[in-house]
């Protein structure tokens, strides 16, 4: 079960993931990301505070947008991941490519700085 909530704060698009991202619903995450990008977002933050589980298919979605982000200069960060999910990102090495931060304020600061 995955629920997606979109929110816009100033120049930031915040996508909140609630539940689990697995092979069956990673397409929903992909669609949401696609939409946000098409609407010309400049800062995209993923709120993972209520993300319980993410499978490799879900990680694949984030991964597939990394080039787009750097090409279009979109600042991207993920915040609020629980330990288990954070570990998944770390094992794969995605923490080297994506800004993964503890909370929204850190994420906001980070995306402002860069």
């Amino acid at each position: 079960m995955l629920q997606l909530e979109r929110k816009k704060e100033e120049n930031k698009d915040i996508l909140r993931l609630i539940g689990e991202v697995d092979a069956s619903n990673s397409i929903l995450l992909d669609q949401s990301m696609q939409e946000i990008l098409e609407q010309g977002a400049t800062v995209l933050l993923i709120d993972g505070t209520e993300l319980v589980y993410i499978s490799s298919a879900g990680l694949g979605v984030f991964m597939s947008y990394l080039d787009d982000f750097s090409e279009r200069g979109i600042r991207f960060a993920i915040f609020g991941l629980n330990e288990q999910v954070n570990e998944v990102f770390k094992i794969l090495g995605l923490d080297r490519l994506i800004a993964i931060v503890p909370d929204l304020s850190t994420a906001t600061r980070l995306t402002h700085e860069s």
Partner: protein, 684 residues
């Protein structure tokens, strides 16, 4: 043993009937001779009665046999039997009249003996006719048996049997007891005569024939009755056989039922087309409801439906329009009308009613009537055919009269349409099931092919034991492991995991094997191997797919292994001398995530020394992420504890222990929703 059916019961009865009749004639002649000459013939009148009763019984048996033989035949055939007997009886009567008319007042003409012989002949034919017709009526009355009707009939039969012997009580007088008995039997006859359920089953033509036959039977019965009364009145016969309650009651029954049938058939004539129509509808309905066989097509169902709708509504024209999105073609979509008329009529139907968009509004999905403004055609009925929430087709029925479609037509056409839709839907589901079956077969082949991609035999030297296990969440999966002997002292272990699962993962797994098998020939250091693998796989993986991998190069002489990890689950290393297991930490990014040369910055390698009794457990995330019913994951710690608890076990037993623990943990309600693989190495 003699088979009862082999006995010619009918012929025996016929023979006996004739013998009894001859005896009756003889006895009566003797009696008449006695009466005329005032002599005591020595034969009591009871003998006549007994012979008469026997005659009735045998005639009854003869006809019962005949009807029993022909019980399969239709009504008209049955009735014809009655008619033919009646005509014979009436002809016999007429012939007698003619003969006596010709003889006039001559000596022979007044001879009592000859008269009596003729009287007996007529008596025999009349009895035969009455008994035959009664049996015929029985057949018709009991056409639709119910307990009540059967009981009524039995009462009638018992009463008739009583009437047969009534003559002993009444001595052939027309007294009050006779009249009383007759009235009772007539009442029963009339009660029985309302059982006319066979008549609606006749079609229009058959009804006309039946009317004719019934008329002939009534005519014969009337004529014969008149003759019986006549002969009784004239008193020219000294021995009266026909003033018999049984015979009179039979007359009454035959006449009553014949008359009722005649009248009811007559009054049923105008409505018979309705009954026939209903019957046709029932047959059409049956045709539609028979599910289409795989070799038949949806077109045939639509064809039958169109014809059924036309016949149910008496339409003056019709056509079927197919949803352009559906891949159905119908050869002859237009009935009665020509193409140009159809063009005119289509323009008269409101556009919004011709939409192919499915809405849940039930109104749209029911047959709807439309008023047309056209010189020849005044009303139309649109019948949408809805299959699986989309409009498959639409039938348009056209009539020349205004408001030509009544409520019954709408309801029957609606039922036809629904039934046809169910047939089409069933047909599609069946085809889908067949298709699915085929895919399942294909997947089984894929599964077999993929199993062959994993090594059957694992290369390893004397100095370590190894075993591996792999299971997929779906038919095929994305996990891969392999071993390779570089030279005498160098062995390589690989484990890989494609992101996602199922068919796409399986294809990438095959690519991974190709890349790994090629690169392994180059004798690269593990980190270098990963860089090259990343470069090669970046070219073939879909954008949102990546692969994680672990590689170990084992040097059995120096007892070291060099390890690199590309985003893969860290390998568990049990150190025998410390009696402790830990996950080997080494940095490394998954393959295919960074698809340029910068990947070299993201991978490291690490060389470690191992000792005798050390164990390496390579695994994929499916194991650690197996969850129990509360959603808790199997996790690192459980794995670590299992290995620490069983360091003495051989690789194969340790592997089994891990798999068993995983299944036990996950339980019946939990799930392992991913491919999972294990590779266990134990150094000697």
């Amino acid at each position: 043993m003699i088979k009862t059916s082999a006995l010619p019961l009918g012929r025996i009865s016929l023979l006996l009937a004739i013998v009894v009749w001859l005896a009756l004639v003889l006895v009566d002649l003797v009696r008449i001779f006695g009466m005329i000459n005032n002599l005591d013939s020595g034969i009591a009148e009871e003998v006549t009665w007994i012979l008469e009763i026997l005659f009735f019984i045998f005639v009854y048996l003869v006809y019962r046999h005949i009807f029993w033989k022909t019980r399969q035949s239709d009504f008209l055939n049955l009735i014809w039997r009655g008619v033919s007997t009646g005509l014979f009886a009436a002809s016999a009567g007429l012939l007698t009249e003619l003969i006596y008319y010709a003889l006039g007042e001559s000596k022979i003409g007044t001879d009592p003996f000859l008269k009596n012989v003729f009287y007996h002949i007529n008596f025999a034919w009349t009895s035969a006719f009455l008994i035959a017709t009664t049996l015929l009526w029985k057949h018709l009355i009991l056409y639709q048996k119910s307990k009540q009707v059967v009981n009524q009939w039995q009462v009638f039969e018992f009463s008739m049997a009583g009437a047969l012997f009534f003559v002993f009580f009444n001595h052939n007088n027309l007294d009050y007891s006779f009249l009383f008995g007759l009235v009772i039997l007539l009442v029963i006859s009339i009660l029985l005569a309302v059982n006319l359920k066979w008549i609606p089953y006749l079609n229009f033509k058959e009804k006309w024939k039946t009317l004719l036959f019934l008329f002939l039977i009534l005519l014969c019965a009337g004529f014969l009755f008149y003759r019986v009364l006549d002969s009784g009145n004239e008193g020219r016969v000294q021995i009266n056989l026909t003033d018999n309650l049984f015979l009179m009651a039979l007359f009454g029954f035959v006449f009553a039922y014949g008359l009722f049938s005649f009248l009811v058939t007559l009054f049923n004539l105008p409505t018979s087309s309705v009954f026939e129509q209903k019957l046709t509808e029932a047959i059409n309905f049956q045709k539609l409801s028979q599910s289409i066989q795989p070799e038949e097509s949806e077109e045939q169902v639509l064809d039958i439906l169109l014809d059924s709708c036309i016949s149910a509504s008496f339409s003056d024209g019709a056509w079927i329009e197919l949803n352009p999105k559906e891949q159905v073609q119908i050869k002859n979509p237009l009935r009665i009308l020509d193409e140009s008329t159809r063009g005119e009529l289509i323009k008269l139907i409101p556009q919004e009613k011709q939409s192919w968009v499915y809405t849940s509004a039930a109104v749209i999905l029911q047959p709807q009537t439309i008023r047309l403004i056209h010189p020849n055609y005044k009303s139309a009925l649109l019948v949408p055919l809805v299959v699986n929430k989309s409009i498959l087709a639409r039938i348009v029925l056209i009539k020349e009269v205004k408001e030509g479609f009544n409520k019954e037509m709408l309801s029957i056409i609606g039922t036809f349409a629904r039934q046809a839709c169910i047939s089409v839907e069933n047909h599609r589901l069946l085809n889908q099931a067949i298709e699915n079956e085929r895919y399942q077969e294909e997947l089984k082949i894929a599964q077999r092919v993929q199993k062959a991609l994993l090594p059957l035999k694992l290369d390893h030297p004397e100095s370590f034991d190894i075993c591996a296990y792999s299971n997929t969440a779906d038919e095929v999966g994305g996990d891969y492991y392999d071993t390779y002997q570089v030279d005498e002292n160098h062995f390589v272990l690989i484990m890989g995991d494609v992101s996602g699962k199922g068919t796409s993962a399986a294809f990438h797994m095959a690519q991974m094997k190709g890349v790994f098998q090629s690169l392994i020939q180059l004798d690269l250091r593990p980190a270098e191997f990963m860089k090259k693998a990343n470069a090669a796989l970046s070219k073939c993986l879909e954008r949102n797919h990546f692969i994680t991998a672990s590689i170990f190069e084992i040097d059995v002489v120096n007892r070291t292994f060099c390890h690199a990890r590309a985003g893969h689950i860290p390998t568990l290393w049990y150190k025998a001398n410390e009696n402790k297991a830990e996950f080997i930490s080494v940095e490394g990014l998954g393959l295919g995530i960074v698809r340029n040369l910068s990947y070299k910055n993201h991978v490291q390698e690490k060389t470690c020394e191992y000792h005798s009794g050390d164990i390496l457990v390579l695994l994929t995330d499916g194991i650690l992420e197996g969850r129990n019913e509360t959603g808790e994951q199997f996790g690192n710690d459980r794995l670590k504890k299992i290995v620490e608890a069983h360091p003495q076990k051989t690789p194969i037993h340790l592997q089994q222990e891990i798999i068993d623990s995983l299944h036990q943990f996950v339980g019946g309600d939990g799930m392992i929703d991913d491919d999972y693989s294990l590779l266990v190495v134990k150094f000697k």
